[in-house]
Amino acid sequence: MTEGRVRVLMAKAGLDGHDRGVKVVARALRDAGFEVIYTGLHQTPEQVVNAAVQEDVDAIGLSLLSGAHMTLFPRILSLLAEQDATDIRVFGGGTIPDDDVQSLKALGVAEIFTPGASTVDIVEWVRTHVGESAVSGR
């Protein structure tokens, strides 16, 4: 199976060290045929966005369990805009309360997966929202 070489950058922004979820999702995306670039823990939004541009990924998946989501997601979106890279889709996961999910989506975060989300759903979402649409949109 081929995904037309869809590349996804999986990142942990901020200072929290909970990487169980991000690694499980990275493995699930790999098994589904995606090329995953994992940038490791404790990254600043600048590092994440610069890596995304250099790696020319189709999407950034951001994992946050630190409560800093209302700071870090908007920062990443605005850095992407500065770098002429708003076509890179941003999705995320973590302990994010419902009303914050709505605010983040309004700001341009494509999707948020909260605790209990299955990797099957995440893979399916990436397949439909990142795969083909991003490739044909180029």
């Binding site: 901020g14 490791g40 309360p97 605790p115």
Partner: protein, 550 residues
């Protein structure tokens, strides 16, 4: 009565004649350990009572470390708390003390855990979010305002900058007129599990262990009532390990600390009685109870037989337990009250010395006061209503529990052998052994959930679409601004020359390899910040960078 059949024959006949058809092909624990349909005397040996089970307060302590356990004294109900500024958390502490908690437990925010100040650009958005923001002694003074440190024992969940926070605690005591000798409490101070699981680090592993030995040495000399390390399996489990991995990796970490202290020239009986442990209590009831019982037994055997400790107090594994945060679900969050109650019951039946019960909303954010109160009431119901405290180790002798306890011990010993082959815990971390074991276990469990081989109510079965409407605690962004303002003000108020001189002395001490504690204390007393102190030591000890293991 004389038997005309052997037990094995009786079992076989029972299985053929009495046992019906199972509703599932296999039954396994949460950690995927196979469970048999029935346990009987066939699963234990006649020697198991004298050798492996024995009496409470006697070697190998499988049944508990105290003779009369909760008939003598209930466990300490210790609720982990911390958010916002020191002032906010101080208020929560007073609330908890009024409602009957018997020990405090401080949660620090991510910048503090990483040894970074609140005004550092990397801290943006994180100040006071998942714990209390502490930048300097000034914040610690506020945190313990009105709390007499000679009467309330305090546990502090801090690791990479543990030496700095311990020094601040000592300095707050000084201000209150409480000598270090009088201070009681526990410092988590377990850096190895940070590299393995929790990932809040500053220095490379060997330097991290060296700092821990420094704090142990310091407390032996100056703080006889204080526990300098809480060797923690909790985070290893939260990061995805199985019960056996939690048990094995944590005790392996413990052995590493013991060996490092011995290498420093400390007498095993001088420090071993102050080592304590911290376990996770997950949702698989009997597996957890077996884990706690096996842990005590393994540790007692290691301390007596491998490390030659002569003082029976050195053989005792005292431990704190927290219910499993990772077992909580964002869906139907009220169900979490039930999960936490069962996990807490397992911890009590496993003989814990202190317990934190999670609040139902912790999967969404920091807990509200109401949710914390329910969690605390859960412990009080266990202690005062259920009667489970009336006898010591009520499950001792259960064929199933004893067999599972043996399995746990065997599983841990197998891992010890593998870790030895790798050269020990530090080379194992370098090689990514633990990180990969955890990643594999977490991924395996996730797959089981998705194939619905494991069921979580509200997540992959009995799902409802009704949104939860429990209230969620929000941290006001104003917290960050006021914390930074306070820090800026401190930087102008304090004597900078004094600070720089103390930090310079600290750096040379760290470079020489001296015990840094007296120098950290001086820096802290001069109001050097957590960030400045950590940065100074980093210049001497180096910085840790994450290896690439996915």
């Amino acid at each position: 009565m004389v038997r005309d059949r052997t037990l094995e024959e009786e079992y076989r006949i029972w299985e053929e004649e009495r046992y019906g058809r199972d509703r599932s092909a296999s039954f396994t624990t949460l950690s995927d350990h196979a469970v048999k349909p029935l346990y009987s005397p066939l699963d234990t040996s006649p020697e198991s009572f004298p050798l492996d089970i024995g009496w409470p307060a006697e070697f190998p302590y499988t049944r508990g470390i105290y003779g009369n356990m909760y008939r003598g004294r209930l466990w300490t109900m210790r609720q982990f708390a911390g958010f916002g500024t020191a002032r906010d958390t101080n208020r929560r502490f007073h609330y908890l003390l009024q409602h009957g908690v018997t020990g405090l437990s401080v949660a620090f925010d991510n910048p503090t855990l990483m040894g970074i100040d609140s005004d550092d650009p990397r801290s943006v958005g994180e100040v006071g979010r998942t714990g209390v923001a502490i930048d300097s002694l000034a914040d610690m003074e506020v945190l313990f305002d009105g709390i007499p440190l000679d009467q309330v024992s305090t546990s502090m969940t801090i690791n990479a900058p543990a030496a700095v926070v311990l020094a601040m605690y000592v300095a707050v005591g000084e201000k209150q007129g409480v000598a270090p000798e009088e201070l009681t409490g526990t410092l988590q101070n377990d850096i190895l599990k940070e590299y393995i699981a929790q990932k809040e680090w500053i220095y490379p592993p060997a330097a991290g262990v060296k700092l821990i030995v420094d704090t142990v040495e310091y407390t032996i000399e100056h703080m006889p009532k204080y526990n300098p390390i809480s060797i923690s399996g909790y985070h290893i489990r939260e990061a995805g390990s199985t019960a056996v991995q939690e048990l094995a990796f944590t005790i392996a970490d413990g052995m590493t600390y013991v060996e490092a202290c011995l290498a420093r020239g400390l007498d095993v009986d001088s420090f071993a009685p102050r080592l304590s442990f911290f376990w996770n209590s997950h949702i698989d009831f009997f597996e957890e109870i077996a884990k706690f019982r096996a842990a005590r037994r393994i540790w007692a055997r290691l301390m007596r037989d491998k490390y030659g400790a002569g003082n029976p107090k050195s053989w005792l594994m005292r431990f704190h337990t927290q219910t499993a945060g990772v077992s909580l679900t964002a869906q139907q969050p009220e169900n979490n009250i039930v999960r936490t109650a069962l996990e807490a019951l397992a911890a009590v039946l496993g003989g814990t010395q202190s317990l934190h019960t999670n609040s139902m909303d912790e999967v969404l954010a920091l807990p509200t006061e109401k949710a914390v109160e329910i969690a605390l009431r859960t412990q009080q119901i266990l202690a005062h209503e259920t009667g489970v405290v009336n006898t010591v180790d009520p499950l001792g002798g259960s064929y199933f529990v004893e067999a599972l306890t043996d399995d746990m011990e065997r599983g841990a010993l197998d891992y010890f052998k593998r870790i030895d082959e790798l050269g020990g815990v530090l080379p194992g971390i370098d090689a990514g052994f633990f990180q990969r074991e955890l990643g594999d276990a977490a991924f395996h469990y996730q797959r089981q959930l998705e194939r619905r081989e494991k069921i979580v109510v509200g997540v992959n079965e009995f799902v409802t679409s009704a949104p939860s409407d429990i209230p969620v605690l929000k941290i006001d962004p104003e917290v960050e601004r006021s914390q930074i303002a306070g820090l800026t003000e401190l930087r102008t108020r304090r004597d900078d020359e004094h600070v720089s001189a103390a930090l310079a002395r600290l750096q040379s001490a760290a470079e020489r390899g001296d015990n840094v504690m007296p120098f950290v204390l001086d820096a802290v007393r001069a109001y050097a910040t957590v960030g400045e102190t950590s940065e100074t030591m980093k210049r001497a000890l180096g910085a840790y960078r994450e290896p690439a293991f996915v």
